[in-house]
Each structure stands twice: as structure tokens, then as C-alpha cells.
Amino acid sequence: MSDSDHGKHHILSNKTSLTVLLLLLVFTIFTVAIAQVHFGSLNFPIAMLIASIKAILVMLFFMGLKWDNNENRAFFFGSFLFFGFFIFYCAVDLLGRRADSHVVGPILKESASTGPQTEKPWLSSPEIVAHGKSVYEKQACGTCHGDSGKGDGPAGMALGARNFTVESGWKNGRKPSQVFMTLTKGLGSMPQFDTIPAGDRWAVTHYVLAFGPDAPADSDEDLKAVGIDPSKPGGGLGSAEIEKKTIPVDFALDLYVNQ
């Protein structure tokens, strides 16, 4: 235990501090100059080397590590060791990932709805409601909205899931097109179900509305308001939201198989 009685503290002479200052300025200019020259992937190590030289200069002279005891030196350089552990593992993991592990583009390919195909899916019919029931169960909507649509599902109570049997309080309105859009875009803690085929979403919409008193019908303006063109088959949405130029391959496929 360094029990030096009132040991002389090292006093940094003006000369050394000036030389260190000049050296640091020279290295700064040097590192800026060298960075302009394009060495490709070599630039990075060079810049880090120069920065480290400047850092060691500051540590040894300005911070006095040159004349300090070993404990403080061990502390400071020890911290860089742990920084080394930290960056080694993170870099090896994140940069070592398989090339194809990064998700690019949509996850699921759009697939055709397995339910009945109709020109105007925004009009309800018993088959659509029946199909809606099977989609409702498959997608486990009951987790929040409850199996009988009262919004009493185990996860639903805390999140205030919509009770379909009640007529009032529908934020986006109770018209089929509006409910369809809520299902597609999501609302508050209700996630968006845009990966479910549009046909199935229409079916769930009608099934859900069937819980409560019969829903008001959509007028053309309502449809246009949410981006549905009543003249086109399926409301111009086809099987995916974005406007389609060519016939969707799956749709063509169904025609081909059914012939």
C-alpha cells in the first residue's frame, strides 16, 4: 500500500505539455488528410491506429498514467479488455448470421381465399357468415373477442376488446366496409390482419356483424370512402390491397385447375 509520505507529485513541465499539444494537432491534421485518400477497406484500421496513438499520448502525459501507480493503469486498460469481450461476441454473432436470415419483402405469399367467391363481398349471405365462423375460430379471434363475440376473451378484458353484440361505440362505424378496413388496418391494440386473404376478411366481417342487430348496408360513397370500387369484381381489391395490373397468379391457377 503506497504509503509514500507526502511524495512529490509529478508536475507536468510546460515544455512537455506543449510538445504533446503539438503532436496531437499534427496527428489530427494527419488523420484528416489520410482519410481523403481512398484506401478502400484499409481506411478504417488506419484511422483507428492514429486515433489510438493520440489517445495514448493523452493518457500517458495529460492524464499522467506515465507517473501513476500500477493500480490505476490496471483499472483503465482493464476496462478496454472488457470492451473487447463485449464487441467480440456481439460482432461474431450479428455479422456471422446466415445471409438468408434477413427478412426481405413480405413474409407470407398472398394466397387465395378458400371461401365462396362473390362479386360483391360486402353483401352478407349465410354461406359467407358460415365461412366467417370457421375463419374466426382458425384465427383464434376468441382470444380477445370471446367465442360468443362479447369481448370477454381471456386476453380481451384488459385490452377492452370490442363487444360485437352491442350496437353503440364502434369507432370506425358498423358498416361492413368500415369493419373490413378496421380488420385490415388494425385499431389501437387490435393488430392488423392484412396477411389474411381479403375473402376471409369479408367473411369474418359479416360473421362478426351477425352477432349484433343487423348492420346498416354500405352505400357506394361509403365504399369509395374506404377505397373500394363497387363496379369492379371483389371491389377491385382482388386478393391483396395494392391495385393489381395482371390477374393474380393464384386466381388464374384456380381457373386453370377447375376447368
Binding site: 488523420t31 478504417f44 495529460f62 492524464m63
Partner: protein, 219 residues
């Protein structure tokens, strides 16, 4: 100028230390442990930046071209000079030259302010160009060529911002030390606060020495 002998305030060591030297060594060691912790405090940002730099090499390269390296270089020079003046302040205190301490502290304070002003100019330039982090990123040109440029600016603002907070912290400490230096507290017998503030300031300069090339030059 003649070293006029100033009567420095009497300072006696705390009761649980054997003598002034013992207290000085302990305080300095405590400061070094604090710097140890600061290295690790900055480390996640450096680790994150380096990893994403190699993951999105091209995007980060294009994005870093939008940084003004001239301002960065000016800031580097400012901080190096302020490191120099802090070291001079400490050696003046050791030699008992009270005016030297005061002058150097003032000069360091001004350098710190200068650094913040240059930083403010840079930030306003970025705000103007839409080079902002995360969702706020709206620079038209980079949006096409470099989809991950917003991540570069997230790191840019986080690293320089955290460093800036440390600079502000340093300025507050120097203001406090200036007040104490003005009523002759720091002399050859007692200058521990100056020594610790100096170590802290050199550390802040060290961080910038690494930040400058990483972000501005080889980004």
C-alpha cells in the same frame, strides 16, 4: 510575471485518512474507477455502431458523406487545446501560480463553450437537411440510395449527444472550480478537485478522439 506568493486557504484532510497525501491518492483512484465505468458507459454505442457499420457498409458510407468533417476537425482541435489548458491549470496550481490556474480554467471553459456552439451549428444543419434519426429521417436523396441511413444518424445523434452531455457536465464542474480558484483554494498543498476534473476532461477528449474519425472520416 513575478510569481507573487498567494496565501492559499488552509485545507485539512478528512478524519478517516492518515494525511493529505493519503486522501489525494484515494480521491484520484476513485476518479480512475469512475473513468473505468465511463468507458463501459459509452461502450454499447460504439459496439452497436461498429456492428451496423459493417452490416450496412454502403449505406453508412453514403450517410457519413453528409457529415461536415470540417466542423468535426475544428471541434477536435478545440477539445485538444482545452485538454492542454486543463493540464496547464493543474501544473500552475502545483507551482502555486494562482493566476495561471484562473486563466487556464477560463480558457478551458471558453473552449468547452466553443465546442458546444460548433455542435449546435452542426445539429441545426442536420435538422435542416432532414438527416434525423429513426422515423424523423426525411432526406430525399438518401432515402433512395441508402435505406439504412436513418440508423447511421440515430448513432450519430446518440453518440455525439451523450458526449455533448458529458461536455456540459464538464463545464458545470469547471465553473464551480473557477469560483473556488478565485478565492485561492487551490495551491500546491491542495488541488485534488482540479486533478479529478482534469482526468474527467481528458477522458471526454479521449472519447471525441475516437468519435471523430469513426463518424466523420471513415463512416
Amino acid at each position: 510575471m513575478a510569481d507573487k506568493v498567494t496565501a492559499f486557504k488552509e485545507h485539512h484532510h478528512a478524519h478517516h485518512f492518515r494525511n493529505d497525501e493519503h486522501q489525494f491518492e484515494t480521491a484520484k483512484q476513485g476518479m480512475w474507477v469512475f473513468l473505468l465505468q465511463e468507458v463501459l458507459f459509452f461502450s454499447p454505442l460504439f459496439v452497436g455502431y461498429l456492428i451496423f457499420k459493417f452490416m450496412y457498409f454502403q449505406d453508412f458510407h453514403d450517410a457519413s458523406k453528409h457529415l461536415d468533417w470540417v466542423m468535426g476537425a475544428v471541434n477536435t482541435v478545440i477539445l485538444i487545446v482545452s485538454s492542454f489548458t486543463v493540464a496547464r491549470a493543474i501544473s500552475s496550481a502545483q507551482k502555486g501560480n494562482r493566476d495561471g490556474v484562473v486563466e487556464n480554467l477560463i480558457f478551458t471553459f471558453i473552449c468547452g463553450l466553443g465546442f458546444l456552439i460548433v455542435k449546435y451549428l452542426e445539429y441545426s444543419h442536420k435538422f435542416h437537411d432532414g438527416l434525423l434519426p429513426g422515423h424523423f429521417f426525411s432526406n430525399p436523396e438518401l432515402l433512395e440510395t441508402a435505406p439504412h441511413a436513418n440508423l447511421f444518424f440515430t448513432f450519430y445523434f446518440l453518440m455525439t449527444g451523450l458526449h455533448g452531455i458529458h461536455v456540459v457536465g464538464g463545464l458545470v464542474v469547471f465553473a464551480w472550480l473557477l469560483k473556488r480558484a478565485l478565492n485561492n483554494e487551490f495551491g500546491p498543498k491542495y488541488y485534488t478537485p482540479l486533478e479529478c476534473a482534469g482526468l474527467y476532461w481528458h477522458f471526454v477528449d479521449l472519447v471525441w478522439i475516437y468519435l471523430f474519425p469513426l463518424l466523420y472520416l471513415v463512416g
